[in-house]
């Protein structure tokens, strides 16, 4: 079998996925393993696990080309994509979920909306949960709200993921972004970021169902219950902020800036990127989380 000859250059772990005819793994290889940056002091050669000296980068390509087809196609895709830069071959142990625009769920929104899609975020969270090299999740929120079901689904997954999670509200974290922000183990808000609490029934919109006041109230209760279960705010306080007048032109509700969101007990702390990453490292150092569920 020709494959092992060509693959001696790489770590054994990376040999196995190469045998699959999968674009993902081929390119992953080309990206992260083929162009490993030279470690300082190691010079032009790298020593593989067996202690054998692997050929230098230029030699590597030749060996690959006379060898296996799978490796060859990986090299072709490198050529197609242009020059491979040494920037970015490493993998972060903290993964980041950025939520921007409208959170899109059941309905594809018209193209003038920038959306964060359910079908992107949910599998990302499932993959993060399963990848042993990922140790923590940072959720960066800058969103105007969106689909109630999709927002709550993301929030529920964040609550039940076994890895430490920290959320950071930047710019705006409005409406359905609130349950997502509070679903993390620890939440931050930037000093200038805003969060808007308003009723679902006034600015919200239901398409396709003849909604009643009771229906919207029930949907709203669902959101409030989640928020109060995962933050320090009490349901009565939240309802009071939701129906306050004077803040919003078109609606009742409250806009909170930075420290105000911490003051009402919605968010844990005012902070920025280094605070959020520092907290996440701290949570990672504490070890595995106790299994979390509904109390």
């Amino acid at each position: 079998m020709r494959l092992p000859d060509a693959c001696m250059l790489f770590d054994r772990k990376t040999v196995i996925p190469m045998t699959t005819d999968n674009e993902y793994t081929q390119l992953l290889l080309s990206d992260r393993d083929l162009v490993k940056p030279q470690e300082p002091g190691k010079g032009q050669t790298q020593v593989n696990r067996e202690g054998r000296e692997a050929p230098s980068a230029s030699h590597k390509e030749e060996t690959v080309q006379e060898g296996d087809n799978t490796v060859l196609s990986a090299m072709e895709s490198v050529k197609e994509m242009g020059q491979v830069s040494p920037v970015g071959p490493q993998k972060s142990d903290i993964h980041c979920i950025t939520i921007i625009g409208q959170i899109e769920g059941h309905l594809v929104l018209p193209p003038q909306n920038k959306t964060s899609k359910y079908e992107h975020i949910i599998p990302q969270l499932v993959a993060i949960e399963q990848d042993p090299s990922i140790r923590g999740v940072l959720v960066v929120l800058n969103t105007v709200g969106g689909d109630v079901d999709a927002g709550l689904a993301i929030a529920e997954l964040l609550v039940t993921i076994s890895k430490p999670t920290v959320s950071l509200v930047l710019g705006g974290g409005h409406s359905i972004a609130i349950p997502i922000a509070v679903s993390a183990d620890y939440s931050f808000i930037a000093p200038t970021a805003t969060m808007t609490i308003h009723p679902i029934r006034l600015a919200g919109l239901v398409i396709g169902v003849p909604q009643t006041y009771e229906y919207l109230d029930k949907m709203q209760d669902r959101v409030i219950r989640f928020i109060t279960e995962h933050s320090r705010i009490k349901a009565e306080e939240f309802r009071e902020l939701m129906t306050r007048t004077g803040d919003l032109v078109r609606d009742v509700g409250t806009v909170m800036v930075g420290a105000e969101a911490v003051g009402v007990g919605l968010i844990d702390e005012v902070g920025g990127l280094s605070d959020a990453l520092g907290k996440l490292r701290e949570l990672i150092a504490l070890g595995p989380k106790p299994a979390k569920g509904r109390e």
């Binding site: 197609e80 242009g82 970015g88 980041c96 689909d147 705006g172 600015a203």
Partner: protein, 87 residues
């Protein structure tokens, strides 16, 4: 099909595209929706990262947006928005 939106954007902004078909919208809204309608984006997977691309002529495409949870992917110039790639 049901969708319940809990958003600070009012429905007339979120659904401006559909509404402009029925009743005349302000000129600015109409222009933005007609520009958007002519642009078609596609999602492809390259190197383990999901890319939103705008397909051009001759099997080429321009990267519009990268979707990945690994922040280091965003340092990779191959995925940088504006980069031309072969499909």
């Amino acid at each position: 099909m049901t969708a319940l939106l809990y958003s600070i954007y009012p429905p007339e902004v979120v659904f401006a595209d559909q509404r402009s078909l029925q009743d005349p919208a302000p000129a600015s809204l109409e222009m933005s929706s007609s520009v958007q309608a002519s642009v078609r984006y596609h999602e492809i997977i390259r190197g383990g990262a999901r890319l939103v691309v705008h397909k051009g002529r001759g099997g080429k495409a321009k990267v519009i947006r990268l979707i990945s949870t690994d922040p280091f992917d965003y340092l990779n110039p191959r995925y940088a928005p504006g980069t031309e790639i072969e499909l």
